[in-house]
C-alpha cells in the first residue's frame, strides 16, 4: 500500500485568479460574437442576440465556475509522492513519484502576482503527463514544496 498524502485545498486567492482569467476569456469571446453578429445579421434586430447570449453565459461561468474548480482542487505532498486531484465532471487524480521528477518550475503570471498565488510545475520524463501543475499555491508554499521535491530529483536514466 502506497502512503498516499493527506490532501489539502489551495489558496482562496486562486478563485480570484480563475475568475480574472475566465472574465478575460469571455470578454474576448463576447467581442468576437459582437463582430460575428454584426457581420451575419447587421441590419436585423437579431444582431445583438448572439453577443447577449455569449455575455450571459460568460457572466454565469465567471460567477459559478471558479468556486467549483477550487472546491474540487486538492493537492498533497508526502515523503515519496505528489498527488493532484481535480474536477468532478471530468475527474483526474494524478500521482507522481518524486524520484521521477526531472526538473521543477515555480511560475507566477500577472494574475498570480495580483492575487498572491503561484503555480508549481513538475516535469517528468513521461510523454503523457510530461508536466504536472499544482496551481493556486501561496508563493512561499510553492517554493518550499519545490525545495522539498528538489532533494528527491535524480535521474536514473542511462
Amino acid at each position: 500500500m502506497a502512503d498516499l498524502p493527506e490532501l489539502l485545498p489551495v489558496e482562496t486567492g486562486y478563485k480570484k485568479v480563475l475568475r480574472a482569467r475566465l472574465a478575460l476569456m469571455w470578454l474576448v469571446l463576447t467581442a468576437g460574437a459582437l463582430i460575428a453578429g454584426y457581420a451575419l445579421a447587421g441590419s436585423t434586430r437579431f444582431a445583438m442576440l448572439i453577443p447577449a447570449a455569449v455575455l450571459l453565459a460568460g457572466l454565469l461561468a465567471v460567477a459559478t465556475v471558479p468556486a467549483r474548480i477550487h472546491r474540487r482542487l486538492r493537492y498533497g505532498l508526502s515523503e515519496r509522492l505528489l498527488q493532484v486531484v481535480r474536477g468532478w465532471l471530468f475527474h483526474t487524480d494524478t500521482v507522481v513519484p518524486l524520484v521521477r521528477v526531472q526538473h521543477l518550475d515555480v511560475v507566477r503570471g500577472p494574475f498570480d502576482k495580483m492575487f498572491g498565488t503561484a503555480t508549481l510545475v513538475l516535469h517528468t520524463a513521461g510523454t503523457h503527463n510530461s508536466t504536472v501543475t499544482v496551481p493556486g499555491l501561496a508563493p512561499e508554499r510553492a517554493e518550499a514544496m519545490r525545495d522539498i521535491i528538489r532533494d528527491h530529483v535524480r535521474t536514473d536514466f542511462a
Partner: protein, 494 residues
C-alpha cells in the same frame, strides 16, 4: 578557417572534411528542398513559356550546386580524444562538440547511391531529442564507410572500455534474423493503401496544370470516350467492373505492403552486443543501428487476428533513444514466433512473457458506455426507417458492427502483475501486449467522468518516457480495483 583553436590541438584531433562525393548527395538534398520551385517551372513549361522555364531550372541547379559546395567547404569535423567537434554553417556558424560520454551510439546509414560510392552517413545518437531540428544534431552526411566504422569503433571503445571486458565476437549467431521468405510473409500482413494517398497528393499538386483530376467525372468520361469499345464494355459490365475494382484495390494494397516491407526489412538481423541490441536491415538503404537496452522503457508485442492465429507477432521497444521517423519506437522483430520474442527479451535481460499470466479483465461498462455514446444514432435510424428504410437497415448494421468490435476488444482488454512488471493486453484488431516495468512508470492518472462514475469504473493512464505513438492506459477498471492497482504500482517505486 574560423574553427575555434583550442590550446591543446592534439587532444582535439586534426580537422577533417566530408568526402567530396558529398556533392552528389548534398545536391540531391538541396534540390529536394526546393519543392515549390518545381511547381513554378512546371507551370511555366505548361503555359508555354519555355525559355523562362529553362532559365529558372538552370538558376535552381546553379543555386543548388553553389550552395552545396559552400556548405561542404564550411563543414569540418574533428575526432578528438574525448569528443567530436563539428563546425558547420555558412552564415550562422555552429561549433558543436559532442563528448563521447554523451553519445549513446553511432548509427551508420547507407542509401543506395552511397553504397555504390562506398560512403556512409554517420549519426551520433545523443538522446537529447526535442530541441530544434533533430536531423542536424550530430550528423556527418558523407564519409567513407571505413572511416565511419573506425569512428564507431573509437566511440564505442571510449565508452565501454571501463564498463565492459570485451566486445562480443562478431561471429556469434544472430538472436533473430529473417529469411527472405519471412520478409515476404511479413509484407503480406502490411496491407497498405498508402499508394493511393500518394497518388491523390500527386494529382492535387501536379495534376491540375496538366489537366489530370480523378475527382472530376468528366476526366474519366473523356478517358473512356477516347476508347469507344471500352466504354461499351464498362457500361454493360458494371457489377463485374466493381468487383474487378475491389480486387485491384486489394492486390495493390498487398503489393504496396510487400514492396515496402521488402525495402525496409530485407536481411533483418538482430545481434546482442552485451549492453544493447544491434539491428541491421534494408534492401537499398541499409541501416545499422544499436539500441541500448538500458534506455528501453517498455516492450510492446503487437499482432492482429490473422497473425495471432498463426502465432506471429511483432516486437518493438519504447525507448528513450530516438530513431528516425518512428519517434522512440524501435522495431526488434517484424514477424516472430513466441519463442523468438522470448529469446530477444532474454538477451535484453528481461524475463520472458509468462505463458499464462493471471489476467484481470475489465468491466463490461467498457462496452455499455460505448453503447450509451452511440444511442443518439438510434434516433437517426428511426428517422430513416420512416423515410428511406433500406438506409436504416444498412445504418443499424453498421452500428451493430461497431458495438460488436467494441465487445470483441473488451474480451481482450486485461491487465496482470508479473513480479516487478505490469502486463497490459488490449485490442482485437490491433492487438497489443505491453510489458511495462514498474520502475519505468513516471506518473499515474486516475480519471473518471460523469458517465464512468455511473458505472463505477475509472481509467488508469500511465506516463512513460519515450515514444509518442502509444499512450498506455487501462480503461473501465472498477474504481476500487483501480485505486488498489495504483497504490500497488506506486508502492514499489524506489
Amino acid at each position: 578557417m574560423s574553427a575555434p583553436t583550442s590550446p591543446d590541438e592534439g587532444a582535439v584531433g586534426p580537422p577533417e572534411r566530408l568526402h567530396p562525393l558529398f556533392l552528389i548527395k548534398g545536391l540531391r538534398r538541396s534540390l529536394r528542398s526546393l519543392g515549390g520551385a518545381y511547381a513554378l517551372i512546371a507551370y511555366l513549361a505548361v503555359s508555354g513559356r519555355w525559355s523562362t522555364a529553362v532559365i529558372a531550372a538552370v538558376a535552381i541547379l546553379l543555386l543548388g550546386v553553389g550552395g552545396t559546395i559552400l556548405y561542404w567547404s564550411r563543414f569540418q569535423f574533428r575526432v578528438g580524444q574525448d569528443e567530436i567537434r563539428i563546425d558547420s554553417g555558412v552564415v550562422n556558424r555552429r561549433h558543436r562538440s559532442i563528448p563521447f560520454d554523451r553519445i549513446q551510439d553511432v548509427d551508420i546509414v547507407q542509401g543506395p547511391l552511397a553504397r555504390v560510392l562506398g560512403l556512409a552517413e554517420v549519426k551520433f545518437e545523443t538522446g537529447g531529442g526535442g530541441e530544434g531540428p533533430r536531423s542536424e544534431e550530430g550528423v556527418l552526411h558523407a564519409i567513407t564507410l571505413e572511416r565511419a566504422e573506425a569512428i564507431r569503433r573509437l566511440v564505442r571503445g571510449r565508452r565501454v572500455s571501463a564498463l565492459e571486458p570485451a566486445r562480443t565476437a562478431e561471429e556469434r549467431p544472430p538472436i533473430y534474423a529473417m529469411s527472405a521468405g519471412r520478409v515476404l510473409l511479413a509484407g503480406t500482413f502490411n496491407f497498405s493503401l498508402a499508394v493511393f494517398a500518394a497518388l491523390i497528393g500527386f494529382t492535387q499538386t501536379v495534376g491540375q496544370p496538366l489537366g489530370i483530376d480523378p475527382f472530376q467525372e468528366s476526366f474519366w468520361r473523356d478517358l473512356v470516350a477516347a476508347s469507344a469499345p471500352l466504354e461499351q464494355f464498362a457500361l454493360t459490365h458494371r457489377l463485374a467492373g466493381i468487383a474487378a475494382g475491389i480486387a485491384l484495390l486489394l492486390l495493390l494494397g498487398l503489393a504496396t505492403g510487400i514492396v515496402r516491407t521488402l525495402l525496409r526489412d530485407y536481411g533483418f538481423r538482430l545481434d546482442g552486443t552485451g549492453t544493447g541490441l544491434r539491428r541491421r536491415r534494408g534492401l537499398l538503404t541499409k541501416t545499422d543501428v544499436t539500441l541500448p537496452v538500458k534506455r528501453a522503457q517498455a516492450a510492446i508485442v503487437a499482432s492482429g487476428p490473422v497473425r495471432a492465429t498463426f502465432g506471429w507477432s511483432e516486437l518493438f521497444l519504447q525507448s528513450l533513444a530516438q530513431e528516425e521517423r518512428s519517434r522512440g519506437n524501435h522495431e526488434l522483430a517484424p514477424l516472430a514466433q513466441p519463442a523468438e520474442v522470448d529469446a530477444i527479451l532474454e538477451e535484453m535481460g528481461w524475463l520472458p512473457i509468462p505463458p499464462a499470466p493471471r489476467w484481470t479483465r475489465v468491466s463490461p461498462a467498457y462496452v455499455w458506455s460505448f453503447v450509451l455514446a452511440l444511442s443518439p444514432f438510434l434516433l437517426v435510424v428511426v428517422v430513416q426507417a420512416v423515410t428511406v428504410w433500406p438506409m436504416a437497415v444498412i445504418f443499424s448494421l453498421g452500428l451493430f458492427a461497431l458495438v460488436a468490435l467494441r465487445a470483441l476488444a473488451w474480451r481482450r482488454i486485461a491487465y496482470a502483475l508479473d513480479g516487478e512488471r505490469l502486463l497490459m493486453r488490449s485490442g482485437w484488431w490491433r492487438r497489443r501486449l505491453v510489458i511495462l516495468p514498474k520502475s519505468r512508470i513516471q506518473s499515474i492518472d486516475y480519471t473518471e467522468n460523469f458517465v464512468t462514475r455511473r458505472f463505477g469504473t475509472a481509467t488508469l493512464q500511465f506516463g512513460v518516457a519515450g515514444g509518442s505513438a502509444a499512450t498506455h492506459l487501462i480503461p473501465a477498471i472498477p474504481s476500487a480495483a483501480a485505486r488498489a492497482l495504483r497504490d500497488d504500482l506506486l508502492g514499489s517505486a524506489p
